[in-house]
Structures are given as C-alpha cells and as structure tokens.
C-alpha cells in the first residue's frame, strides 16, 4: 500500500463523480516532453498557506458538494499500464479526438489519488482524467480530477463465448 502524504490529500481529487477542492486552487503544473506528460502539484498549492476545508459531518459534506461544480475543459480516458513505487503510468486517449485512437503516456503521482481509489489501481484499470475549473461557493479555480471506472465482472457466459470463439479461430489456422 503506497503511503500518501498529508499534502496529497489536499490535492482535492475525489472519487465517483464527487469533487472537492482545497481552499486554494488545486492547480497542477503540466509539462510535456516527447510523448510523456508529467504532472506535478504547483508550488503554491502545497505550501503552508494552503488549507483544506474539511467537512466534519455528513450533512456538511453534502452541503459542500452541493456548492461545488466541476466544469471540464479537456478529458482523457486512460488505462493503467505500469505501477511504479510512487506513481503510475497511464496510456491516455484524448476523448475529443477519440476516433483517432492515439495514446499518449502520462505519469501520475500516487499522491494525486484519494485513498479509496487505491484498491482500484491495477494494471489494466480504466480511469478518466479531467482538467477544468472547479467552482466552489462562486469562486472559480483551476482543477484536475481522476475518477476510476468501476467495471463489471466477467460473467460465465462471456468467458464461455470467448473460449468458443478462440477455439473456432484456432482451428482455421494452419502453418507451413
């Protein structure tokens, strides 16, 4: 289980469609080198001046969520391709150019993830990465969000169909 630092929780990435942001902007520095995009928290984002507003009760949390709106500007669908010690690599498809199907590799620090996303972090897992604006109590700030998809499980019928398909196809293959 990777260790998440206190500041990582303050990055404000929430899970399953909800979104929370620190009192100050949850902006990221995004730099692109060849096909690899590195994302690091902004210096002004993790300093001592940044304080997260943590709702204490369920009703406060609900109230806070109701006041928070996320407006995505750009979205990617990603597949986890590699797990590193303190990061993971995702093969990302720009959803605005989905039909082209080309992938870029992006390295995400594990500190960008909330604790409850960690069990879903496996090679092959699917997630969506959105960058845009979070509007909290009328204040707009730059923000980024990672949401892992909760996929259905393989069913017996699917596996049997696939096995039949593979068996039929392999019978048609011959070798010189």
């Amino acid at each position: 289980m990777p260790n998440l630092t206190t500041s990582s929780k303050q990055q404000g990435f929430d899970f399953e469609g909800t979104f929370s942001v620190p009192a100050r902007a949850a902006s990221c520095d995004i730099s692109r080198s060849a096909n690899v995009v590195s994302i690091a928290p902004s210096a002004n984002n993790s300093g001592s001046g940044s304080q997260e507003v943590v709702p204490k009760t369920a009703s406060e949390q609900e109230s806070k969520r109701a006041r928070t709106i996320f407006l995505p500007l750009q979205e990617w669908e990603g597949t986890v391709t590699r797990l590193l010690e303190d990061a993971f690599i995702g093969a990302m498809v720009d959803l605005s150019e989905r039909e082209k199907g080309f992938q870029d590799e992006v390295e995400f620090p594990l500190s960008d993830l909330p604790f409850d996303a960690l069990p879903l972090l496996k090679e092959g897992a699917i997630f969506r990465w959105s960058i845009g604006y979070a509007i909290v109590d009328g204040t707009r700030c730059r923000a980024s969000k990672i949401v892992f998809r909760r996929m259905p499980a393989w069913t017996k019928r699917e596996l049997e169909t696939a096995a039949r398909y593979a068996s039929d196809l392999s019978k048609s293959v011959t070798w010189e």
Partner: protein, 218 residues
C-alpha cells in the same frame, strides 16, 4: 505525418531499399528487395488520415500493393500491428509470417475476452490480431509462415532480380525458451470468473519479437 521530405521516386529495379516510417514508438518497415518485390514488417497508422502508412507510402510512390510478397508481424503490441489487417487486405499476394505462439489455441483463449474494442477508448492489439487471422482464413491465404530461429522464409533467385544477386529473408527468433516464457507471462492474464473487467495490460517484455534478416547473397 507528411511525406514532403521523402522521395516520391520508386527505387530502381536493381536497388535494395529499406524505409522506416513511424512516430518513434512502433514503426513500419518497408523493404524493396529488387525488381518491384517488397516486404513489410509491422504496421502503424498515419495520425492524420488513420490509414496504414505502408499503403500510403505505396500510393505516394505509385507502387502496387500487390507486389508485396511477405508481411511480417514481429509481435502483437498495439503500436506495432495497428492497421495490419487493412494492409494484408490490400496486399493480396502477400504471405503472412509471425510466431506460432501468436495463433496458438492457448494464446487466443487467453486474449479472446479482451477483444471487445468498444468497451474502452483506444485501439486494441488483440482486435487487430483477430482481424488478421480472419482475413487470412477468408482470403484463403493460410498457411501462415512460422517465424523461428534461423529459418529462411523467402528466397528469391538471382535470375528474378535486376541486381543479379539472390535475396533472402530469415527470421532469427523467437526461440522455444522465449515462447515458453511468453506462455508463462500470458498465463497471468487469463480472466477469471467474477473478476473485475480491465483492459489487457501492456506487456513489459517482448518475448515473441521476430528478429528479421534481409540478406543479399552472392
């Protein structure tokens, strides 16, 4: 990708020419063996047009796709076989060569559940591989040529080539040991009942890679 800097002139009949086209990660290699005989190794697509680059290259230099005599798939990673089925479809006279492990029943059974490309954004190398096998079957171009260590898959006689030399294509891998290791690796990918679906994880190692030798022989 643009073709601006690349010569539009076809290689001369007595020239052996090798052209590498690609984005820097996953390329297509096109070799002219002489007298208008070509081979293609792997495939990728033009990012703008989405067409296989080999076919665009032939169109660019006004060469005929049906003069391709062999297509080799070095391995099954997404970035090396994208557009391979379309290329095979256009190159009607080409034989197909890959490692025997790529169409073994064990391998196909492991990856078949992952072939559904509509599930996620992005291409799937598995879908492309299945499309290639279907195309070979439907167009009556079985059997596949098996890539193995020190195996000659093409031999063109000197009399058939304008440069007067014999031209040979050899595969130098994968070895039996590499194929065994490959089966051990893909064994971990077998989907289990009630296990959460995921995309086929990318393979860290390239155990089935087909090393190819193009040789002009005196």
């Amino acid at each position: 990708m643009t073709w601006g800097t690349l010569s539009q002139k076809q290689p001369d009949a007595d020239q052996l020419e090798i052209t590498l086209i690609g984005p820097g990660q996953g390329e297509c290699c096109i070799a002219h063996l002489g007298s208008g005989r070509w081979i293609i190794i792997d495939s990728c697509r033009n990012r703008q047009t989405r067409h296989p680059v080999a076919l665009e290259y032939f169109e660019y230099i006004c060469a005929q796709a049906n003069s391709v005599i062999l297509i080799i798939a070095t391995h099954w990673h997404d970035d090396h076989i994208s557009g391979l089925a379309d290329t095979l479809r256009a190159c009607t006279e080409a034989k197909f060569c890959c490692s025997s492990a790529l169409s073994s029943r064990e391998f196909l059974a492991t990856v078949a559940p992952y072939k559904e490309r509509l599930l996620f954004a992005g291409d799937s190398g598995v879908s492309e591989l299945f499309e290639v096998l279907h195309e070979l079957d439907e167009s009556g171009r079985m059997p596949i040529m098996r890539a193995a260590p020190d195996r000659r898959v093409v031999q063109l006689a000197p009399s058939s080539l304008a440069h007067g030399y014999s031209c040979e294509i050899w595969t130098l891998s994968p070895s039996d040991a590499q194929i065994d290791d490959f089966y051990l690796e893909i064994g971990k990918l077998v989907p289990k009942l009630r296990e959460t679906k995921r995309r086929l994880p990318s393979q860290k190692t390239n155990l089935l890679s087909v090393v190819t030798l193009v040789a002009r022989v005196n």
